[in-house]
Symmetry: C2
Subunit: 531 residues, 2 copies
């Protein structure tokens, strides 16, 4: 008999688990600190309890054969509504799914998808719910019912092929649970997106997540050996192959499909032996420009560091305690097989040739698998990168956000100027001022993936202000030749810019492909493409 | 005014140019040698002149606006008929295209494609004509006319972005002409498939060609930054982006589409600075098994050698003069920036740990850009790999061919046994015996891409014997879990196995995508998918 596994309850109003939510006292204290800093008085709103929410009643009822794993309580429906913390903290869930299904087997998944297809209910595949772009929000109209299909019961590593360094893994497993199952074998997927703790393998594949590696193998794409995906017309399963040249890659059409073509249930993934050798260096540069020139030269020398992350002077000041005029480049190599002293010395040599500074004694080597970047500026930066204390600012009416993209090196300096100008102008006009910084999250031989973080300086702002800043930045990115997303996906939020970015014939091809697989257009409608 | 550039005439009956064809005397001499070796008497057939061929008259006539760049003489129509040398040398061209167009501009390309769409004529994109799988042979029925669109007038490097290491290159340029245009800038695409001299950039992209790099960046796929492709519903052009996570990659759907979705006119390609530092080592192994274990360990250590090619004992004997019991692993590193002594010593260290043998003095290093592999066993192997003396065996009725695939490491040893058994059995039954060898052309962390070469021992054999051997090998490959092609494409020849390999829903998606872009199904019909 299949049973529904109890997973830890996730917070309705912050990234993380309910058990990680701050107390009211901690929230009040944080609000006070912010009030003092900004010279205003703001207080955190009270947080509604799930049982007190007034949600629109479910419009549909699951039939017996699937009712056992379908839920329609307030918590389930609110959790699967959206990821807008400002709305959530105010108890606003105006358009929840009617039913949240937690199928436990592929047969149950087939049954619930068949039910949706039969009645034309929207079927929304759901991984960790960490989408920042409206990847799982129900459509507002056009459907008599909305069924969110939460894959959290598909949480196991099913098979390990150590010789080929690959593993068959279920799609609904969260990052930490996945690594917990590989660790005893001395193995790791080593895919650590920022959302790692709250996102799943299936979500990473469906959204082309960007992971740990800063160069070469950046996206989850490169780790996918084969995919198994349920479509309304049947199972889409590719062979396990290291590579193939047989027509356009089926995997590459599934990867990034954001749930509109099918529901991924498992994948064979390329895995790694856990690193034994590590080498880390934090190189400071007299300017942003010298920093990015060094980054370009290192990646073009094809040393392929696992880490190659450049922080602009503002971010280096905030996150690593530097002086606000110097940029910081964090270089990291790792290997299960070979000491990494040679590669890191080459990279540092190139960095120095571009004006970078680091003492030899600051190059940290380890041959015991220990982390080498916990000290000094790099350690400070790690603490900022890995999200902690989530939820403290929720409901304070602050505008904070990020935009990320990718651009070729030749256009990058102008691009950076244009995007910064647009963001600063919008922050000034919309928020009365704000802060802005940039880092490279990933780097390619032909260009960087810059990541801008912004914050408005005044409280009392809401979603519409955030939208205005985001819109200005997105317009600037598209105009200057970038992509609307390097690794945050398209969802519903990025649609207007995505529609301008992709070739029109590709949209026609994708639309037709979806129509062939999903004739009733039930799968995640509104994402990527319209009928 | 646009003029049609005269390109060197290609041979009708061998891989290469007319100017490279052997003389009748050379062919007679070669036939004598073969006769003596096999103990029979065979003579090369006379070669018909293009002007003496009796081809089916063209069924259609191009209208004035396009007639200027359309041709229907015997040479043009025969050349674009097929690449079956045994038929060609006998003057057999039963199903030639009616018209061969050589558009000189995108406007001319639009006009000829419009003409085909208007009348429902098959439109076959043509690069170098090196397809070994029937990638450009006209359909036998279903079309009132067949127009082959030869892209040879699109032969220029249009733009170079040195900073990003990328270049905008027209699709019809042949390998050598492409490199000739990059060389003065100290740059190279470094994509050298075996067909390099007789294939084009557009063909490489359309067929997912496998190139120079033996690890990591094996297929042309990884070098494509953006693609411009004419479809019947308009231009498909992607942005120049180092990477993106915006939906399924449009480039990855164009790459490998084998001309069924559109005609590629140009692409931004990632290019390289020409290597200055090289390191090469030829390591011998006491067995095939120890050789492939070493290969696996080297690629899994992520050293990413440019060259990592393993020859089985039989091939090492034939091609490198070895004793027939030892395998040979050729390891090569190259870099424009960094001396490659450290990486090659690591790779050699791993190889020795697996039982490989090489003296330190045989590790060849260069820091002047010179090739390091022209001597000894490796030099001998190079000479065999780079095709020379084409055409000598044409018409002698010998069965020679190759099959190539890809498989995970864990399954590889059994896979190798099964494929060899099937090939040997077929050679015995069909040809009364034969020879067989294997090498790895490309290697991945999760498995090798093996390449089997076979030859029948008896003359007097024809296409049907060749087909029987190929069929037996293909069946064995599919059954044992491999792909029908790692880098030779699908075309028409691999269709039966491709149809078994790809997921059925993917076929439905691809069919629908094609129908959306090419409603009259004119583009390269019969390849990859049927209506």
């Amino acid at each position: 008999m299949v049973t529904t596994k109890k997973q830890p309850r996730r917070s309705l109003w912050m990234f993380g688990l309910e058990s990680e939510e701050p107390t009211d006292e901690e929230r009040r204290q944080h609000a006070q600190e912010v009030s003092q800093r900004l010279g205003v008085t703001i207080a955190p709103p009270p947080i509604p309890r799930a049982e007190d929410l007034h949600l629109r009643p479910p419009r549909i009822k699951p039939p017996d054969p699937i009712a056992e794993f379908c839920f329609s309580d307030n918590y389930e429906r609110a959790l699967h509504s959206h990821r807008d913390w400002e709305m959530a903290v105010r108890g606003q869930f105006p358009n929840p799914p009617d039913i949240v299904a937690h199928p436990r087997t592929e047969e149950e998944l087939e049954r619930v998808l068949e039910w949706c297809c039969k009645h034309g209910y929207a079927a929304i595949p759901y991984g960790g719910g960490s989408s920042g772009v409206g990847g799982f929000t129900p459509p507002k109209e056009g459907y008599d019912g909305v069924v969110t299909i939460d894959m959290d019961q598909f949480d196991r590593v099913l098979e390990i092929d150590r010789t080929s360094r690959a593993a068959r893994i279920q799609a609904g497993v969260f990052g930490p649970a996945l690594e917990d199952q590989l660790r005893p074998h001395g193995l790791t997927l080593r895919h650590f997106p920022q959302s790692f703790a709250g996102s799943t393998l299936g979500g990473w594949i469906a959204t082309r997540s960007g992971g740990h590696y800063a160069t070469k193998d950046t996206h989850i794409d490169d780790f996918v050996e084969s995919v198994r995906m349920l479509t309304p017309v049947g199972w889409w399963e590719t062979r396990r192959l290291p590579a193939s040249g047989a027509g356009p890659s089926p995997d590459r059409l599934a990867i990034g499909s954001e749930g509109i073509l099918g529901i991924i249930t498992e994948a064979w993934m390329r895995i790694q032996v856990r690193p034994k050798y590590r080498a880390t260096a934090g190189v400071t540069f007299p300017s942003w420009e010298t920093g990015y020139e060094a980054t370009r030269q290192i990646v073009q020398a094809k040393l392929w560091p696992a880490n190659l992350r450049l922080l602009d002077p503002e971010l280096a000041r905030q996150a690593a305690g530097m002086d606000g005029t110097h940029a910081l480049l964090i270089i990291g190599f790792e290997s299960a097989e070979l000491p990494q002293e040679w590669p890191i010395r080459q990279a540092v040599g190139i960095a120095r040739g571009c004006g970078g500074h680091i003492d030899d004694s600051e190059i940290i080597l380890s041959d015991t698998g220990g982390y080498t970047g916990h000290r000094g500026a790099i350690g400070a930066w790690r603490d900022v990168f890995i999200p902690r204390g989530g939820g403290l600012a929720t409901g304070l009416g602050l505008v904070t956000g990020t935009v990320e993209t990718c651009i070729t090196w030749e256009r990058w300096p102008d691009f950076d100027v244009q995007v910064r100008e647009a963001l600063k102008k919008a922050l000034q006009e919309v928020c009365g001022g704000g802060t802005l910084n940039c880092r490279f999250t990933h780097v390619y031989t032909d260009g960087p993936a810059p990541y801008y973080s912004f914050a408005g300086l005044n409280p009392g702002l809401g979603r519409e202000h955030w939208n205005a800043v985001k819109r200005a930045a997105s317009d600037a990115i598209l105009k200057a030749g970038g992509t609307i997303t390097h690794h945050h996906a398209v969802g519903r939020m990025h649609r207007p810019w995505y529609d301008r970015e992709r070739p029109e014939p590709f949209a026609q091809a994708l639309r037709a492909a979806k129509r062939a697989l999903d004739p009733k257009w039930v799968l995640n409608p509104g994402v990527l493409i319209d009928p």
